[in-house]
Amino acid sequence: MENKHTGDLVRANGYAFFSACFYPPGDSFTTDIENAGNVCGAMAEDIRCLARNTDVEDIKRDYVRLFVGPFKTLAPPCGSLYMEQDGCFMGDSSVDVQRWYEEDGLTNTLHEPPDHVIVELEYLHFLAGQALRTADDGRSDQADRYREREQQFLSLHFARWAMAFANNIETNAETEFYRCVARIMSHFLKESAIHLPIASA
């Protein structure tokens, strides 16, 4: 129980932190990253350090090059761009992601497709967080269902493209900040996959 609890917490906080990393950097970016990574302990330390020590204008420029384009997007940030033929936004996989959210009574309010990395990571945060909350509430069956959903969502969606996405970042980023985010996120996802506690296990 304690292991599951810790695992859920680490994953919930981790997903939230990485989601924060993919927002367009505003002028308070450094503070945002500092605060978001606060609960992630050592995992976030390198990233937070780079956020402190990199010129925010360089980070902004790199963000646009990697995730926005506007000419050629070097690390397209949505699932359908990797998983579907011709890779456009709002593919069938994007609609499926939307359905997942709806099943949990959620709606995407970000001005991006439902399968944008920010939103998918936040959804994973939600699932891990719900597992934690319902477990703490004494509803362990419900907690296990949330963990199953988290694993299914990863295997059907996020994990299917996250590595290619991270690879695009590592290959094309000009700032060590984003390279570091990609590296540590990849590591985090691999670790989470191993340790995701499922009822059937």
């Binding site: 384009g69 709002m90 359905r99 709606t107 909350r133």
Partner: protein
């Protein structure tokens, strides 16, 4: 909320996460914190559960402007079809409409406002864009406009318009005038403006025509390819099979076009010799007695001359019973004998064959075929003969044939646009202060109306835009420098000939904002970039189009909720900018826009979205409001009109314009009093003669010949020895206003253009020429003109006239996206024809010359 705004308020999310962790340490329950996601209110059905439906809107992939419908399911656009309610395209849509699905969801689409950080601009200078909020972006633009106003320099503001809807006056006219500048520059001169020259200076029609194909027996398509590109492709493609069953179709084009593939004859004319063919056909129609008597008239029964004979001048009148009587009694035309005497009498088929490279028998066969089919015969003049340096008169000569055939405004002939009943927006005059009036009085940056650029729209010198010359005006600061520019739905440093001049011009402008859906070469030079709504899926507006004997008004509608935080170029952005100007003390623009009240409720717009919708309702009110109905379709009200998506005019009133044309004589003018008046007016304004004007505008005609359709030897750049081929440009059936190149389907299906290849950009040579040069299919070649070059693949194809190199326009983007550019920022996929074509003009209309402009040479690389 925009992504950037979300990030700015992320503090709450971040705080929540941190707090969650902290609370947990104290033993309380963790609660996931949401920022991008939100709990549904439970009231509305989930998007994915909502049944799909067809929603009406408009496609602007070309200027057919078809009424279409989009199947929207789960909030997503998935399919396109024609809107069955339109009487113009009647449920049909062409292939290019479907490419829009790959545009609206293009991974390289512009998704948030951006700001340049690299202070240097140039082809090799990455802009270094960073994300900014809408607020900051609009504030930057407003600051610069206020600087101009405060320094009485508002004439140094410029608005460049690319593709528009009829919401255009809000940004193009009203905003420019109220700020106080003369410099609203449209794209018309790079469109097909010279084509209107021929129709205006004969029958008083400064417009594109529609063609009564279901009722015709002969079509002579002249430098026009309606099965591929413009105008009303969906309609013509759909009915063409029936047309082929009843009519003879002949196509004049140096290359074998899509329409040539569905025709009876192909006339592979030598480039630039269209005028020769046209005057020869006129000569044959007259000498064979095949002109249409009902429209044109006939010889006076007592006239000693009763026929047109090659080489023989015909006196315009004769003596009969002591009075002077016209030799020829014209009915609905003017100046036939003048035309014959000045130009046509010696222009035999043999004479034309020498110049056009066409067989004498073919010229005769087509001329006689037309004549025998008249009046149900038409000469369909496209951009081909018109958009040449000396294209004004060739286009006029080709169109004049419709007068001889009695096809103008007749059943089975060429028709104008039916009457429609939209209304104009409120006038700006009361909102133009002294600064604005003074600024507006300056001369325009495109130099229209100067001696060299008569640019005579509808007979008025200096009234037509000279789009491509704007670059030179900016570079030379003539008449003045440009300090602040806004441009929308355009890409002039790709779409205008001799593109490098635009690179220099754009680098010179200190501040430029580009409003667009997709970043392109033009955006590369921008200081601020604003993401815009896609015209087919996300924008409110309307356009008008005519075909099939009708005109329709079709609305662009917001059929999906935009995924990204985009705004509409012509309405929402001007409103928001007006708000920023008001914050800075200049309220005139916002005060003006507040006049655009909702015609249904009388409500004043309170935000950009309301403004966009009210403006559309206002402009179209006579169409949907039963109390204001004037003609055409009737609706119960706005919602009824909106759901249908399109209004159709009354049927075409054939022959209504006979002897009521908007020419000086009200007749179809073979001797153009209208052109005479226009040229004389322009000459007088510059204290010179018409002959001097013609010399200045690169024409050869002198004296009276200037006022009749006549043959001009083509003006083509490059020495024939050094540059042995003539360049032939043409348009693709897949081009969506030149911006399809980043759609996979564009490349995958490129061989829909006859002779072209999928996944490649080819320049086509005739196999005879290829053999001489030792060039094979697939070779990498460089095509070089006196002013530029491009690299692409070679294709040997019989559908290309020997001595020419035919290449489609569309490829050659070096800054567009993952598919369009081969190596982004460095190497384009294929080549842009405009890198080859020199900046030259048909100066009487101001139009850019694209066809028969330059010679080229070809080398292997």
């Amino acid at each position: 909320m925009s992504v950037l705004e979300k990030s700015l308020t992320r503090k709450s999310f971040v705080k929540g996460v941190a707090a969650g962790g902290a609370i947990l340490a104290g033993g309380s329950v963790f609660a996931p914190t949401l920022c991008a996601l939100a709990q549904s209110d439970g009231g509305t059905s989930p998007k994915s559960a909502v049944k799909g439906e067809w929603r009406s809107t408009t496609c602007q992939g070309c200027t057919s402007w078809c009424a279409v419908q989009v199947y929207v399911q789960g909030g997503r656009a998935t399919k396109i079809r024609g809107n069955p309610h339109s009487k113009v395209n009647h449920g049909n849509c062409c292939v290019r409409a479907h490419l829009s699905l790959q545009q609206v969801y293009d991974p390289d689409r512009l998704r948030m406002p951006l700001k340049r950080t690299n202070p240097k601009t140039g082809v090799g200078e990455d802009p270094g864009f960073v994300p900014i909020s809408w607020d900051e972006a609009l504030g930057m633009i407003a600051d610069r406009i206020m600087d101009l106003r405060n320094n009485n320099e508002t004439h140094k503001y410029m608005l460049m318009r690319g593709r528009y809807t009829y919401m255009r006056d809000i940004i193009y006219d009203r905003m420019t005038k109220i700020i106080g500048s003369p410099n609203n520059i449209s794209h018309s001169a790079i469109c097909a403006e010279a084509e209107k020259f021929g129709a205006f200076y004969t029958e008083g029609l400064w417009d594109y025509r529609q063609y009564d194909v279901p009722n015709t027996n002969y079509i002579l398509l002249w430098g026009a390819d309606p099965l591929a590109a413009n105008r009303q492709v969906s309609h013509y493609t759909n009915v063409w099979g029936q047309v082929m069953d009843r009519a003879t179709i002949a196509v004049v084009d140096p290359r074998f076009s899509a329409s040539a593939g569905k025709a009876d004859e192909w006339l592979p004319i030598a480039c630039g010799q269209d005028g020769a063919l046209a005057v020869a056909i006129a000569h044959i129609l007259l000498t064979e007695g095949l002109w249409n008597k009902e429209f044109v008239g006939d010889f006076h029964s007592d006239s000693p001359v009763q026929a047109f004979t090659a080489g023989a001048i015909i006196p315009e009148d004769f003596e009969s019973d002591g009075s002077t009587v016209p030799t020829f009694q014209e009915k609905h035309t003017h100046g036939l004998l003048k035309w014959w005497n000045l130009e046509l009498k010696d222009k035999t088929a043999e004479w034309a064959a020498e110049r056009t490279g066409l067989p004498v028998e073919q010229i005769r066969r087509v001329a006689v075929g037309l004549g025998k089919a008249a009046p149900r015969a038409m000469v369909w003049v496209g951009g081909g003969p018109a958009m040449q340096v000396r294209g004004g008169y060739s286009c006029m000569a080709a169109h004049a044939l419709n007068g001889l055939l009695g096809a103008a405004d007749n059943v089975g002939g060429t028709l104008a646009a039916n009457k429609v009943y939209t209304q104009a927006f409120p006038a700006p005059d009361d909102f133009m202060d002294a600064v604005a009036k003074a600024g507006k009085a300056h001369k325009k940056i495109d130099q229209r109306g100067t001696k060299e650029f008569p640019a005579m729209k509808k007979g008025k010198p200096g009234s037509a835009v000279v789009t491509n010359n704007t670059a030179d005006g900016i570079i030379n600061e003539d008449p003045n420098e440009i300090k602040v520019a806004i441009a929308y739905f355009n890409n002039f440093n790709f779409s205008c000939p001799q593109t490098e001049r635009w690179h220099r011009a754009l680098a010179k402008i200190p501040f430029m904002a580009h409003l667009t859906t997709h970043a392109s070469e033009f955006t590369w030079f921008a200081d601020v970039v604003l993401p815009c709504s896609h015209h087919l899926y996300e924008k409110w507006g309307y356009v008008k189009s005519h075909g099939n004997g009708y005109r329709h008004i079709t609305m662009n509608q917001r059929v999906i909720d935009p995924v990204w935080d985009v705004k509409t170029d012509e309405t929402e952005i001007p409103w928001l900018l007006a708000g920023k100007l008001a914050e800075r003390g200049f309220t005139n623009l916002l005060d003006h826009y507040k006049q655009y009240k909702d015609p249904e409720t009388g409500k004043t717009p309170s935000n950009d979205e309301e403004f966009a919708l009210y403006a559309l309702k206002l402009a179209t009110q006579p169409l949907w409001d039963p109390a204001q109905h004037k003609g055409g379709d009737k609706f119960n009200g706005w919602e009824d009109f909106r759901r249908t998506g399109v209004w159709n005019s009354d049927p075409y009133p054939y022959r209504k314009r006979w002897s009521a044309m908007k020419t000086k004589t009200h007749k179809f003018e073979f001797y153009s009093e209208t052109l005479k008046a226009a040229l004389t007016s322009h000459a007088e304004k510059h204290a010179t003669t018409v002959d001097d004007i013609l010399a200045t505008t690169k024409y050869l005609a002198r004296g009276e010949q200037a006022f009749v359709p006549h043959y001009e030897e083509p003006f083509i750049w490059g020495d024939a020895q050094e540059y042995p081929f003539i360049h032939v440009d043409y348009k693709s059936r897949l081009n969506r206003e030149g911006r399809s190149a980043n759609c996979y389907w564009y490349s995958e299906f490129k061989d829909l253009d006859p002779g072209d290849e999928a996944w490649s950009d080819v320049a086509k040579l005739n196999p005879l020429d290829g053999k001489k040069l030792g060039i094979k299919n697939g070779d990498d070649i460089k095509v070089i003109s006196p002013t530029g070059s491009l690299t692409c693949k070679a294709k040997l194809w019989e559908g290309v006239r020997p001595g020419t190199v035919a290449k489609c326009y569309g490829h050659g983007h070096w800054a567009y996206g993952r598919v369009a550019a081969k190596q982004f920022g460095k190497t384009p996929t294929g080549g842009n024809n405009n890198d080859l074509i020199p900046a030259d003009y048909e100066r009487l209309s101001g139009a850019s010359a694209y066809y028969g402009v330059t010679r080229v040479k070809v080398v292997k690389v």
